[in-house]
């Protein structure tokens, strides 16, 4: 089974509010985590990543938090906009050997209401 999962399959927010999308992982050996955004009919787009030696990383309007103690990852989107509506996937990589395979969660659908 998948080692990466999501707490909420759907999330609906008002435009301008902050959004928080959560993700749990079960493999404590995971080194690296990535958040992807996938709009309808398109391929996943890289948003932000974080290494296991970090607790927090910020990008433009997005922040990723990593809590290794409880194996929890979250993506915070500030001032959510209609263009943020998409499915958001978290993914983990367990380093080992010469190949690095991503394990994806099933995704959370974020809907932004105007």
């Amino acid at each position: 089974g998948e080692s990466v999962g999501l707490h909420l399959p759907t999330l609906s927010v008002q435009e301008g509010d902050n959004s928080i999308i959560n993700c749990a992982y079960s493999n404590s050996a995971s080194d690296y985590f990535i958040w992807y955004k996938q709009e309808s009919g398109k391929g996943p787009q890289f948003i932000i990543d974080i290494r296991s030696n970090m607790d927090k990383r910020q990008g433009q309007r997005v922040t990723v938090l990593l809590n290794k103690t409880v194996k929890h990852l979250s993506l915070q989107i500030a001032a959510t906009q209609p263009g943020d509506s998409a499915v958001y996937f978290c993914a983990e990589i367990v380093s080992g050997g010469s190949n690095y395979k991503l394990t994806f969660g099933k995704g959370t659908l974020l809907t932004v209401n105007p």
Binding site: K42, G43, P44, F89, N99, Y100, F104
Partner: protein, 114 residues
């Protein structure tokens, strides 16, 4: 900058017909290449990955095969399509030999088998 292309964008094929989906990457050399399938409303399932020309690893037994005839070309094929092969097929690439590899996705091919 690197870009990844997939074609066709959409495809409708009858059951039992052959399949050939193509993926090409520009702007990088010796990438790791991946094929994923995404069923409607579901997560990403890794089908194949390749670390070099002629090197293919299969993740799940299935009706599909992959080939890498050139460094930046990855092809997904089938001799006889099944109804269950319908889905959204995504190609991705990552930098080879890196310690932590982000995968970058193409736009995808939507396949409908009738």
């Amino acid at each position: 900058s690197q870009t990844i292309h997939q074609w066709p964008a959409t495809l409708v094929q009858p059951v039992g017909s052959p399949l050939s989906l193509e993926c090409t990457v520009e702007g990088t050399s010796n990438p790791n290449l991946y094929w994923y399938r995404q069923a409607a409303g579901r997560g990403l399932q890794l089908l194949f990955y390749s670390v070099g020309i002629g090197q293919i690893s299969s993740e799940v037994p299935q009706n599909l095969s992959a080939s890498r005839p050139q460094d930046r070309q990855f092809i997904l094929s089938s001799k006889k399509l099944l109804l269950s092969d319908s889905g959204f097929y995504l190609c991705a690439w990552s930098v080879s030999g890196g310690a932590l590899e982000t995968q970058y996705f193409g736009p995808g091919t939507r396949l409908l088998v009738l």
